[in-house]
């Protein structure tokens, strides 16, 4: 941890303002809201992975007293409810375009909120029941008779592209929705032809699910008088949800209001509108009654967007000295049953070469559909997958061709003088010192002392292994953000911002920004988010954009507050505005010292001010930031394996992430710790399993889906570097995803290293006890 003695503003490790409220049960999550007379919704979901819906008979269900409505795809279409407005590719100008090789359009199919013709995954909504209680709605759902024609299904990613695979969308004729080539095939093949060594990997980065602590919920109210729909729900941002919901319901955006208070986790999988949100709004409008839906955990497993699921074959060409010459391969991204989001594929393939100096590369990228839950960006979408591939390839090359793993990285890592650097796919990395950061984490993780620890573990009958991994993250996301600041005469500063905290601690860290710029104590700063009647513009929280963009607009709005304040102070003190200074929260003008709040009061009380200074003391900054950021860092992981049972213990874990400028070091460390748990969770434990034959979801609860827990981890040695980011006016780099991005690769490098004496050169994730045990005992 960087030494900091600051107690306020940027750099202070302040305790989170929101925590007392949250840990004493005073949070306001969606399910905490209720409306008089609200009805309850239960969704009947498909038990089949792939089935044509022949007939739905709800007669018996509707006959139950208290059952108000049963709605199916038929009513959905009749009411003109539009399909989910997915944005399939990331459209930020810094991200690469993904045109098909043959010039055809990417295949896209309508994703209806209720299955209309076919159910395409287990858990897809087939009917919505509205009743006076949840239990009654469930009873009614059991009385709905659905006649299915069960079809062959496909869930496994490698299987989707096979000739004989079941086809999810008949309209496309195959499951492949696009076929993209990035980089230069000619140069890459030429480089491979000259290579002394070629390292190869074929791996599947398995599917996981996001598991926010708060299951999704929604409460919708229709106001007959105004014709407005108000939806209370948690998501990645409220403004986009407002537009998306209005679109689906065929309403004007001003007729939709979103209220989003506390949100218990997002990680990206919660970042988009969901079918349920639209259906709850539709039901409220149709029945003219408030309606409520709250997912149970088992429902979350079969309805939350899932994540990762990338099948990769890749090769790395090296010269005889270990210099990387080129990289090539093919990525297949499993989007699930709907053509909803291909951006993890895109955001991975554009940085396959990571921060190594690889002159040329070429990758094929194919988004595919399957009879599984749709996937979405999840904690550093696409990047942990490809960093895993790169870092594993380097260890494979080192082992196979006799190089030292660290030396191989030192030889090929980009130097600070090489930056900015355009990678073979066209991404331009900003600045940093990749070598210094890797050396820092090797020191922190005591790389040189490892062999002694390995020997000590061996004496105890344990297998100890170590790994190192570098990473780079592409932070793009929605480029526009807005902050509105009002200085209130009563001594409070209100900051309206278009992001949403789902646990990131914005109430504290964003307040620290206002404190830094306006010299107002953090506890006088109110961060206001989430109600679209108040927040008009904002891109939400994702893609490392929360602090990155909020800091810019809060800074610019603060500067405007100070500029306005100087003019008001000048009028108050009868001084020349150019002579007014602002220091430590006070304007100094003609010998007078006026506080920010004195000036705010004057602005609201005086009637001799020019029009643009009349009350309240307010400023707005609305910025579109088209530059990407490239946070990077390095992790070292050390594991200890019990060969008798194959269990893997994380013995040490060290991180150095370059955050540019740490706004709240404690919050950053907290996000890093959580990120590591998500990354190590994928490496060692988590996996969404579908039965390859029937397409059934086998991991439908915490009984089968292994969530990492606190006792799976040691205390982390989390450090960071603060090399100011040159593409951010305040030098800040995103810090929220660094914990996860290299964690998959570094953990598996450590596991494979621990198993080196057993002929193990690679293992697909997750490294479960049985898989490790089989590797040790050379069992298939």
């Amino acid at each position: 941890m960087a030494a900091t003695t600051k107690t306020t503003g940027i750099g202070a490790a302040l305790r989170r303002k929101e925590d007392l409220r949250l840990i004493t049960g005073r949070g306001e999550f969606t399910d905490d809201f209720r409306e008089a007379g609200q009805l309850y919704i239960y969704f009947l979901r498909s038990p089949h992975a792939h089935a044509r819906i022949i007939k739905i008979d709800a007669t018996e269900a509707l006959a139950l007293p208290g059952v108000k409505s049963v709605l199916t795809g038929k009513e959905l279409l009749a009411d003109g409810i539009k399909p989910l407005p997915h944005h399939v590719w990331a459209l930020h100008p810094a991200d690469i375009a993904m045109p098909n090789v043959d010039g055809s359009e990417t295949f896209m199919a309508p994703h209806h909120a209720i299955a209309v013709d076919k159910a395409r995954h287990v858990g897809e909504i087939v009917a919505m029941v509205v009743a006076t209680s949840v239990a009654l709605a469930k009873d009614a759902a059991e009385l709905i008779h659905v006649e299915y024609d069960i079809l062959p299904s496909v869930t496994n990613t490698w299987d989707t592209v096979k000739q004989d695979a079941a086809v999810v969308w008949d309209e496309n004729g195959s499951n492949v929705c696009g076929d993209v080539e990035t980089g230069s095939r000619e140069d890459t093949n030429a480089a491979f032809a000259k290579a002394a060594h070629v390292a190869r990997i074929e791996t599947w980065v398995q599917r996981v699910t996001g598991v926010p602590m708060e299951p999704r919920a929604a409460l919708a109210v229709f106001d007959e008088g105004t014709g407005r729909v108000t939806l209370t729900a948690g998501s990645g941002g409220s403004v986009r949800l407002k537009y998306d919901l209005a679109h689906m319901l065929g309403m004007k955006s001003e007729d939709v209001r979103i209220i989003m208070k506390d949100v218990g986790g997002n990680f990206g999988t919660r970042g988009m509108i969901y079918a349920e949100f639209c259906l709850v709004g539709w039901a409220a409008r149709r029945l003219k009654t408030p309606v409520k839906w709250t997912a149970e955990r088992s429902e979350s497993f079969q309805s939350d967007y899932q994540a990762r699921d990338l099948a990769v074959t890749a090769e790395l060409a090296l010269d005889k000295d270990g210099k990387f010459l080129a990289m090539r391969g093919s990525n297949i991204g499993n989007a699930g049953a709907h053509t909803s989001n291909f951006s993890p594929l895109q955001k991975g393939v554009e940085i396959m070469t990571s921060i190594y100096n690889i002159p040329t590369a070429c990758f094929r990228a194919r988004p595919v559909v399957s009879n599984t839950l749709p996937t979405r960006p999840y904690r550093s979408a696409g990047r942990p997958e490809v960093m895993f591939v790169m870092e594993r390839l380097i260890d494979i090359a080192a082992r196979e061709f006799g190089f030292d793993r660290v030396e191989l990285r030192r030889k090929n890592l980009l130097h600070k003088e090489d930056l900015p650097f355009k990678n073979p796919f066209g991404m331009i990395y900003d600045n940093g010192d990749y070598h210094a950061v890797m050396e820092q984490v090797l020191e922190l993780g005591d790389w040189t002392g490892f062999e002694a620890r390995r020997a000590e573990a061996k004496a105890r009958g344990k297998l100890r292994g170590i790994g190192v991994a570098n990473y780079v993250d592409t932070a793009t996301g929605v480029p526009r953000e807005r902050a509105e600041i009002t200085v209130r005469p009563d001594g409070q500063v209100d900051v309206i911002i278009g992001t949403i905290s789902q646990g990131q601690g914005h109430e504290t860290s964003f307040a620290q920004l206002a404190t830094e710029f306006l010299h107002v104590p953090e506890d006088k700063v109110n961060i206001i988010t989430g109600d679209t009647d108040v927040v008009k513009v904002g891109g939400g929280t994702h893609s490392g954009r929360g602090m990155r963009l909020a800091s810019i607009v809060i800074w610019k709005a603060s500067n405007e507050i100070i500029a306005k304040g100087k003019r008001i102070a000048a009028l108050m003190a009868k001084a020349d505005p150019a002579q007014v200074t602002f220091e430590k929260g006070h304007f100094h003008a003609a010998g007078q010292s006026l506080s920010l709040f004195d000036v705010a009061r004057a602005a609201s009380e005086r009637n001799d001010l020019p029009d643009d200074l009349r009350a309240p003391l307010y400023a707005m900054s609305d910025e579109t930031v088209n530059e990407a950021a490239f946070p990077y860092g390095a992790h070292v992981c050390e594991v200890e394996i019990d060969p008798a049972l194959g269990t893997v213990e994380i013995a040490r874990y060290s991180t150095v992430d370059d955050v540019g400028r740490a706004v709240n070091p404690m919050i950053i460390h907290g996000q890093t710790h959580g990120g590591i748990a998500q990354g190590v969770g994928q490496a060692l434990m988590e996996e969404i399993v579908y039965d390859r034959q029937s397409g059934q979801l086998m991991t439908g609860s915490f009984m089968d889906y292994t969530m990492p827990r606190a006792d799976n981890f040691p205390f982390f040695d989390a450090g960071f570097a603060e090399i100011p980011c040159t593409t951010h006016p305040l030098g800040i780099r995103p810090a929220g995803e660094g914990g996860t991005t290299p964690a998959l690769g570094v953990t598996m490098n450590a596991v494979v290293d621990a198993l080196r004496d057993f002929g193990v050169t690679h293992m697909d994730m997750p490294a479960t006890p049985e898989k490790v045990w089989r590797a040790i005992h050379r069992k298939a």
């Binding site: 239990a135 049972l645 434990m685 086998m698 009984m703 292994t706 969530m707 479960t768 006890p769 045990w773």
Partner: protein, 269 residues
């Protein structure tokens, strides 16, 4: 959860007659397995007979060289019993490893044994310690009690009132936890009794089972080295996403070994 009638009898007789009247009535002790399965609509009962108001069903005492534990004694009480820590620490440790604090504060020994979950911990102690299940009708020997997956020798209207444990010279329970559920993939309870060693395995098969070859070897010499070269005959074992049958078979061997080591390290009582 489906609708059901809730009963809270204050005597064993009333409880038994309520059960006798309804073929789809279910007794509930702590409810830590029953309630989740009902909430998930995985089980449906016309009547739930809550045993919580029946007096004198809980407590741990020593009597005539045995430990007697009332059926409604909660896991937390077993885990923290000074008597058990002195006389049968392996059982207290087993209870301490069940579920989480919430489950241990409500779940009971009788409920767990009657439920006979193949991955539950207590059944291994019952069999390894050659315990006797005392019911409203009779006494049932441990070896005759667990008859199948979630199946026991109990009649529909028969309730466990207590478990009578023999006190071993030494014993230990070692659990290899399922990474997701943290139930036992394999739980091995090894007890050196007067005259013989008993080895009971939970989690691995459809119900708890003993391993005769290991018992014979350990009866001769109570050390993990005595297991070397002994090939146990195991029943057909469970397979799930996290542990195949052959991995479980290997884990059985390993966990018995660890339990023997742990027990051998204890002072003999």
């Amino acid at each position: 959860m489906y609708d059901f009638s809730y009963h809270r009898p204050t005597s064993l007789q009333d409880a038994v007659s309520l059960l006798a009247k309804q073929p789809d009535a279910k007794p509930m002790s702590g409810g830590m397995s029953l309630l989740p399965s009902m909430k998930l609509r995985l089980s449906k009962w016309t009547d739930v007979v809550d045993l919580a108001a029946i007096p004198d069903l809980s407590g741990i005492r020593e009597e005539a060289g045995h430990i007697i534990i009332g059926a409604r004694t909660r896991h937390v009480e077993v885990a923290t019993s000074a008597l058990l820590h002195a006389k049968l620490p392996a059982l207290a440790e087993l209870a301490e490893g069940i579920g989480d604090p919430l489950v241990r504060n409500r779940g009971t020994i009788g409920g767990s044994i009657a439920n006979a979950d193949p991955a539950a911990d207590y059944p291994s102690s019952v069999v390894a310690l050659d315990a006797t299940i005392i019911t409203t009708r009779r006494e049932i020997a441990a070896d005759a009690f667990f008859t199948g997956l979630f199946e026991t020798a109990l009649a529909h209207d028969e309730l466990i009132t207590a478990v009578r444990y023999k006190i071993p010279k030494r014993a230990a329970y070692m659990k290899f936890r399922h990474p997701a559920s943290r139930y036992a993939i394999v739980g091995a309870f090894v007890a050196q009794m007067e005259g013989a060693v008993r080895v009971a395995i939970t989690g691995a098969g459809p119900h708890v089972f003993r391993i005769a070859a290991y018992e014979d070897a350990l009866t001769k010499t109570f050390s993990s080295a005595a297991l070397d070269g002994v090939t146990p005959k195991l029943p057909s074992l469970n397979t799930d996403l996290h542990a195949s049958a052959d991995y479980r078979a290997h884990a059985v061997v390993e966990m018995v070994r660890r339990a023997v080591k742990a027990a051998a390290a204890r002072k003999s009582i």
